[in-house]
């Protein structure tokens, strides 16, 4: 495997202003949805990002996709700074990076036949003649396991799992090298989840794709990822090769997630493992933002912010217990 970097994120932050007042609205604070995160994904690898609801996972996905502008920091995708792209260069970037989103009921236009849904990116980018595009759409549907004879049906005539397959077919249509998967299976039944994840892995192999997969469920990410980043309140608290993370989880939050993981709804179990609620991202705790819920909290944790430390090669953690 070549060690070519596909996505590199450096010090990325996204702060949303919080306004109050209807007529004379003024900014009363900021939500640090994403706060100074860094990671990189090599070509052909898959980085899984896990974290509870509201920790900034989707915001990260939007930034990498160039749907939103970062407050600070950089996203370099195959040598290009995503935030600086516009017009023609942004249009070209779209061919390289595609996405699949969480809710298969909202990610397909209900008024379009699935043939059109799958072929729209090809039409927009004028890839081939209309006959070729039509053929390509049928091939793509076949590839993801949808009978091409059903190409003239509308999305509501398919099940959730099938719709997600259609969404994947669309994402593949432009032959992208990177696919951002934001909670690709969390709206699906557990039995269907595995099928979709297997499909994704097959496709990754076949087209040598790079994935950034986002989930609140560690079990989902575990299947697919080569590397895992654990996010908490807008920050990455631990980043490691997948096998290493499972063997040797360091951050107390990661351990809690792992302890909660092999159940149907991890959010439920997590409450049992961890005390308290996720603090508001508008008013995060001082020092280590995890300290109010941390079982190993020390007095310094309340005041001192810490940086990521590399404990073993490739395994980073941001926790006072592991900084020298």
């Amino acid at each position: 495997m070549t060690k070519e970097i596909s996505i590199e994120v450096k010090g990325l932050s996204k702060h949303f202003p919080v306004t109050s007042g209807v007529i004379f609205s003024k900014t009363v604070g900021v939500v640090k949805a994403v706060d100074n995160i860094s990671f990189s994904i090599n070509h052909g690898e898959t980085l899984g990002i896990v974290g509870e609801s509201g920790c900034g996972k989707s915001t990260t996905a939007n930034l990498v996709l160039g749907l939103d502008k970062p407050t600070s920091g950089q996203i370099i995708v195959q040598g290009e700074d995503v935030a600086k792209l516009k017009g023609e260069s942004l249009f070209k970037f779209r061919r390289k990076v595609q996405a699949v989103f969480q809710d298969p009921f909202r990610s397909l236009n209900p008024r379009k036949k699935i043939r059109h849904i799958v072929s729209e990116p090809l039409m927009v980018h004028k890839v081939g003649s209309s006959w070729q595009i039509k053929q390509k759409a049928l091939e793509l549907l076949e590839l993801v396991g949808i009978n091409p004879q059903r190409a003239d049906l509308y999305p509501h005539e398919f099940s959730g799992g099938q719709r997600q397959r259609i969404a994947i077919a669309r994402a593949l249509s432009l032959n992208p090298s990177i696919i951002i998967l934001d909670e690709p299976v969390s709206a699906l039944d557990v039995s269907i989840q595995a099928q979709i994840l297997n499909l994704l892995m097959d496709l990754r192999e076949k087209f040598s794709l790079t994935f950034l997969i986002i989930s609140h469920d560690l079990a989902v990410v575990e299947h697919v990822s080569t590397h895992i980043g654990v996010m908490y309140l807008g920050r990455i608290v631990e980043l490691s090769p997948a096998a290493e993370l499972y063997k040797n989880p360091l951050h107390p939050y990661t351990r809690a997630l792992l302890a909660a993981s092999p159940v149907a709804d991890p959010d439920v179990k997590l409450k049992a493992v961890l005390e308290g609620e996720v603090p508001s991202p508008m008013n995060p705790p001082t020092g280590c933002t995890f300290h109010p819920r941390c079982p190993d909290c020390k007095p310094e944790c309340k005041s001192r912010e810490h940086k990521m430390h590399e404990i073993t090669p490739g395994h980073f953690v941001s926790c006072l217990n592991f900084s020298s």
Binding site: N62, L65, S107, E120, H125
Partner: protein, 290 residues
């Protein structure tokens, strides 16, 4: 939760489907039939003066005859024929008004809802301003500039009716824009124009169908009212409002001159409202509108 909601709406939908408004559809069918074939089914021309039979009562009253089923006016014009011919005026004026303000309203609503920010704010303030204009005074103003005519009515209503559409279309657009398929359209590289025309607009067509159907009834009344007040269609047109206006002075001894056009208006409006309500149940079971 989501599935529950979906099931509920499916149920509401099928219930609504089974309650087809035959009466409303019947009124609309008659209305449209008369609009299209009126020229051939009307016994007389709308401006034919039968001087031998002036102010003749309807057929079932003493002095009435089968020649003029709904009677005649003081010029000997056949009331039934005038009502039949008048249907075309009502519908044409109503549709012209909708075409003008619908186009303005929909385009501004799509732009406002999709672009957001300052553009949205500007358009919304313009809406507020526009809705603050006093209706009767502006109507009289337009008429005094253009002179009373059907065209003046179309210009007046066309230019004043759009803010309602802009608001509704803007709201729908904003909630649609939250959907992942819009985000994915951007990921695919669709232009703003393409997103608006091919992803948002097709998804508001249902809402627009309901709005337009419900509006036709109101517009028939409004245009008839303006004609009744003498601001709109001018004689000898068989506009229903104008007919009522002309019949007003004879109300004590020739009530049919004012009652029959009134009944025609009532049934046409009722038809469109019944069907509009039903469409709303079928197409929009969550009752987002009104």
């Amino acid at each position: 939760m989501d599935t529950l909601e979906a099931e509920g709406s499916v149920e509401a939908k099928s219930r609504a489907r089974n309650r087809i408004p035959y009466i409303g559809l019947g009124f609309i069918s008659i209305f449209l039939f008369v609009v299209i074939f009126g020229q051939w089914v009307a016994p007389y021309d709308y401006d034919y003066w039968d001087m031998a039979n002036i102010t003749q009562p309807p057929v079932w009253l003493e002095g009435g005859s089968w020649e003029h089923i709904l009677g005649t006016d003081p010029l000997g014009r056949d009331v039934l024929s005038r009502i039949i011919h008048g249907s075309r005026y009502s519908l044409a004026i109503a549709l012209s008004c909708i075409a003008v303000y619908g186009t303005i309203g929909i385009i501004l609503g799509l732009i406002s809802g999709f672009l957001g920010g300052n553009v949205d704010m500007g358009i919304m303030r313009l809406c507020d301003l526009w809705m603050g204009l006093p209706p009767i005074i502006t109507a009289i103003l337009v008429v005094s500039v253009m002179g009373p005519s059907s065209l003046a009515i179309i210009v007046y209503i066309g230019l004043s009716g759009w803010p309602g559409y802009t608001r509704i279309v803007r709201g729908e657009t904003m909630s649609l824009a939250q959907n992942d398929f819009i985000r994915l359209a951007r990921v695919a590289g669709c232009s703003k124009f393409r997103i608006i025309t091919s992803h948002i607009f097709p998804n508001i067509v249902n809402t627009l169908t309901i709005l337009i159907t419900l509006d036709i009834g109101g517009l028939i009344i409004l245009t008839a009212t303006l004609s009744f007040l003498g601001l709109g269609t001018q004689p000898p047109s068989p506009d229903w409002g104008l007919m009522m206006n002309e019949g007003r002075q004879y109300i004590t001894y020739a009530w049919w001159l004012i009652v029959f056009p009134g009944v025609a208006i009532m049934f046409a409006v009722l038809g469109f409202n019944l069907v509009g309500d039903w469409l709303r149940d079928v197409l929009d079971p969550k009752q987002k509108l009104r």
